[in-house]
């Protein structure tokens, strides 16, 4: 299988390797840097490619299964490719009371995708997210690292235009 050869072929970007090694020094055991390492790799590719898992495991001295177990537990680690921008709509109680469902409908309509999907042009991935701690400004959403709230359905198009 070609996948097997791919799994041995991942080389860290020098900056990423350095960043991971920097993080390892914060902890008593290298394993603790597994989430940091996954985030560093994800920042590089937008997601965590399969072949990077054994490379991370090697660097931390743990098994690939352990790294994969961590990668699949946390919802902000993406094990599938995502769009250039990730939209996270808060669907917890504060935003429920202030109308996140209406906001989600508008965004799904404008992008033609459902939760968990990516637009065909690879621009956006849409995800629900747990309370963003912005409950006094609901409904709230994040696009990449930007937090918006309260979001009026009328401003959705303008906000989305900022991300190309």
């Amino acid at each position: 299988m070609t996948q097997t050869s791919n799994l041995n072929s991942y080389t860290f970007h020098p900056e990423d390797r350095e960043a991971i090694e920097h993080c390892i020094h914060h902890y008593a055991f290298p394993r603790a840097a597994s989430i940091d390492a996954l985030k560093i790799v994800q920042k590089r590719h937008g997601w965590v490619p399969d072949e990077s898992i054994p490379a991370i495991a090697d660097t931390l001295g743990i098994s690939s299964a352990d790294v994969e177990g961590v990668a699949t537990f946390y919802n902000l680690i993406f094990r599938k490719p995502v769009g250039r921008h990730v939209i996270k709509i808060c669907d917890s109680i504060g935003c429920f009371l202030t109308g996140y469902d209406e906001l989600a409908v508008i965004i799904k309509q404008q992008l033609g995708i459902e939760y968990g999907q990516t637009t065909t042009d690879g621009r956006f991935t849409l995800l629900p997210i747990c309370c963003l701690g912005n409950c006094d400004k609901g409904p709230t959403m994040m696009i990449d690292n930007d937090t918006y709230g309260p979001v009026a359905t009328s401003e959705v198009a303008t906000i989305l235009e900022r991300y190309t």
Binding site: L60, N75, L76, D91, C131
Partner: protein, 433 residues
């Protein structure tokens, strides 16, 4: 004449924000506003770690993360003295994800140095030489400001080896998470910090004895730690007197409100103010045309209370006696335009998704409850659903699950069934009212 309404003595957590008038808190501005005076006082007066622990215990400070456990008592389980393990850890729980809660985010974005000072003092009290801030990954602004504050504090000698020539060493590291509500549970948080799946651990041993990497560790909430500098600077009598007269708890509390009120927001108030004061005076009441049906005192894992409970002091013991928990103290008000069944379904859906999957009642029970509640919401409920819901609130309760997530998830449900049973029954197909 000063136009300031807040002082260090009345609003120890937030008074500086008013002085800064929108400017960011840097180390020089924090120092000019009494910053690090609490820490310096400890070393100037030669207070021992035990002295600091005693002062925090006497102050009556209770954990602001939601459980309300007395901070000094939590600390007292940490082994101290010559025979204690050399390596100990302090962990700041900054994984703020409790639905309806947005207080720690504000403190970290606007008062990062206050948190650092609280952490340095607490680390000294526990003789922990390494401390971590466990911050949720989505708090990007807080992460930037904390990193900057740590760098500033390090350059000025508040962090590192032999701080302020005291002989005490302390390093603080920022760890940002990658999601999952369960990371707020302290033993799950420790697993996450060790780079594992965030499943909770068996207790005992408690983290104070065997926590991070098997070493004595204390996990404290952001707001709890932010209270410590004031306690050291102004003393325990001052701290105890900050409450309202009808409350036995000590200090101020960051209270807040969300839902459809005229204003939403966060206010530092004497602990023990009433829910009515928060709702009517600070939030300006419900939005025009809306009535209050019920409210959650402090997060998605607290039981609903009714409008008649608004006159109770918002403190740990009183709200517990009323059948709920103060939790994080940030109220969520439910208005009459929302069906209570839909509200409970939303809360259950959240809890089901955020279950870590470790124990069966929570992993399998919460999605099942979500399905039943969705059916009831759509009028497709079946005979027997009410009994199932009630049975589940008993099966997924304290002592029957591995951690507090499951019981927290069923708290709103069991209280809603108690107060609004007919609304749920109406969702059973062919039952008309």
């Amino acid at each position: 004449m000063s136009t300031f309404t807040k002082t260090a003595e009345t609003h120890p957590l937030t008074w500086r924000i008013e002085r800064l008038n929108g400017e960011l808190l840097t180390l020089p501005s924090y120092e000019s506003l009494g910053g690090f005076a609490g820490l310096r006082k400890i070393f100037a007066n030669g207070l021992s770690p035990r002295d600091v622990q005693t002062q925090v215990k006497t102050s009556g400070l209770r954990g602001r993360g939601g459980a309300g456990f007395p901070t000094g008592v939590k600390w007292s389980f940490v082994p101290m003295g010559d025979n204690a393990p050399k390596q100990k850890y302090l962990i700041c729980n900054a994984d703020e994800m409790e639905p309806g809660t947005f207080k720690d985010r504000m403190l970290m974005e606007f008062m990062p140095h206050l948190l650092l000072e609280g952490m340095i003092i607490s680390s000294y009290a526990l003789q922990a030489s390494v401390a971590y801030i466990f911050l949720r990954g989505e708090f990007v602004t807080a992460a930037e400001r904390l990193e900057q504050a740590i760098a500033e504090a390090k350059a000025a000698g508040y962090l590192g080896a032999n701080i302020l020539n005291s002989g005490f060493d302390i390093d603080i590291f920022l760890h940002t998470g990658a999601g999952r509500y369960i990371c707020g549970e302290e033993t799950a948080l420790i697993n996450c910090l060790e780079g594992r799946r965030a499943n909770p651990r068996t207790k005992p041993p408690y983290p104070q004895v065997s926590g991070l990497w098997g070493k004595p560790s204390v996990v404290n909430n952001v707001e709890t730690l932010a209270n410590i500098p004031g306690i050291m600077l102004h003393g325990t009598d001052w701290y105890k007197a900050l409450h309202t007269n009808n409350s036995k708890d000590a200090g101020t509390k960051l209270y807040g409100i969300s839902g459809r009120t005229k204003r939403t927001g966060l206010w530092e108030l004497p602990i023990g103010v009433t829910g009515r004061e928060i709702l009517e005076e600070h939030a300006g009441g419900m939005q025009t045309g809306l009535n209050l049906t019920c409210w959650l005192p402090g997060g998605a894992s607290t039981d609903f209370l009714l409008p008649e409970h608004l006159d109770l002091p918002m403190d740990y013991d009183t709200i517990t006696k009323a059948g709920s928990r103060m939790g994080t103290g940030l109220m969520m008000v439910i208005d009459n335009q929302h069906s209570i069944v839909s509200v409970v379904r939303n809360l259950m859906q959240f809890s089901a998704r955020e279950s870590c999957g470790w124990c069966t009642p929570c992993r399998d029970g919460l999605p099942w409850l979500t399905k039943i509640l969705t059916d009831l919401e759509q009028g497709k409920g079946k005979p027997g659903d009410m009994e199932l819901l009630e049975q589940a609130t008993k099966f997924i309760s304290a002592g029957k699950t591995f951690c507090a997530h499951g019981p927290g998830a069923t708290a709103p449900l069991q209280s809603a069934l108690k107060f609004f049973r007919a609304e749920f029954e109406r969702g059973i197909a062919n039952v008309s009212t």
